[in-house]
Symmetry: C2
Subunit: 226 residues, 2 copies
């Protein structure tokens, strides 16, 4: 599980604009192969023997590093969520304190990750197989991302830039639409990660009730706006 | 697979306001138990033997009805998606041709189902384990729901009620935020299905760029709207 927090820190992602750079994830060979197997066959459809076999190590070596199969899943989820959190924080810091720019940056960071690291992002579906204790551990990091976005929504509301009656639920809705991306992105393959990110930045800003000053809706009763 | 289309038609859901009523799903005992097992252990973590054992039938009986384990998953997905589609159509028809009311109804119908039939809704995550042919078959029904919502978004745009630069992607975003609900709804248990539905109706309308005439954003540059 020592893999989990490390790569984000080594990348120096926090606090610099590197949050847009998507290098391949720095996972150990064991975790890389386990990720592929979980993606192909699901958590319950993958045995410790399968993972050890594909990596070419003995089973005890896997137990040594991760305790058991659930430990492998947890290590992957922790890596994935910590990486996402570090990028989201860096993107937020890069927004210069403006809620619109911060929201744009954070959504861009999330979508870039959802599109370029679809296998890691798809692990989310396996969270329900964690033990209650490990699920809680995962949810703590997960909650930090939600809290970050929530702060931006609240700030935007307070500054009269966003218009959201339920900031917490809207935050969850925005994160949910981003998290669904891995489910269709690879199958379709029509759009680049950057294009998907730009689209979702616009959709997310609309979802939090942002209306730019150039928008015809700023004019009263703009019927037939097209 | 004969179970798949039947219940929605028998309920007489299509074309009447019954789309708000959520009776327990009318699934055969075999499909009911399979649904529980897929939810608990995932598709790959469930064997045909497990299903037959829990239902109390011989394995050949399961093969007779559904061909194989994938046939069971497909039957569940087809039932689930057809039920959803029938409800969405009825909700849409109940909207009296007004894009705002149609959108409200359809989102309400979808969210009611996501909250009261969370196990069926969670099956979505298992779609990637279907064969390409069966996945296509599933996606055809799935696409109909997307098309229905898309039509409403386009109508709303054309009537100057909604304001969406990318109608297709916004449609997908709205459906994604609804589909994520089963992942948190039961764990939290704070809100009733009706309350979640009301919240998501409001969020979805904001996401498609609907701004009611009472909204302060109708006034130019409503800084500090609170």
């Amino acid at each position: 599980m020592s893999e989990s927090g490390r790569p984000a820190a080594e990348n120096g992602v926090v606090g610099n604009p590197g949050w847009r750079r998507m290098d391949p994830p720095e996972l150990s060979p064991m975790l890389t192969h386990a990720l592929d197997l979980f993606y192909e066959n699901g958590f319950h459809g993958t045995s410790v023997r399968d993972i050890a076999g594909r990596v070419g190590v003995a089973i005890p070596s896997l137990y040594y590093h991760h305790g058991n199969k659930e430990g492998v899943l947890l290590a992957l989820l922790e890596y994935s969520t910590s990486d996402m959190l570090a990028r989201a924080h860096a993107a937020d810091a890069d927004g210069g304190g403006d809620p619109v720019q911060r929201m744009s940056n954070v959504v861009e960071a999330i979508v870039l990750r959802m599109t370029t690291r679809a296998r890691l992002a798809a692990l989310e579906g396996e969270v329900r197989y964690l033990s209650p204790e490990n699920r809680l551990r995962y949810r703590v990091i997960r909650k930090e991302i939600e809290d970050l976005v929530h702060t931006i929504v609240v700030d935007g509301n307070e500054q009269g830039l966003f218009y959201t009656s339920d900031t917490a639920e809207t935050t969850r809705a925005v994160l949910s639409m981003c998290q669904a991306i891995p489910r269709w992105f690879h199958a379709e393959g029509r759009m680049s990660p950057a294009i998907v990110a730009a689209k979702y930045v616009e959709i997310a800003l609309t979802t939090v009730g942002y209306v730019s000053t150039a928008d015809p809706r700023r004019r009263p009763r703009a019927k037939r706006a097209r």
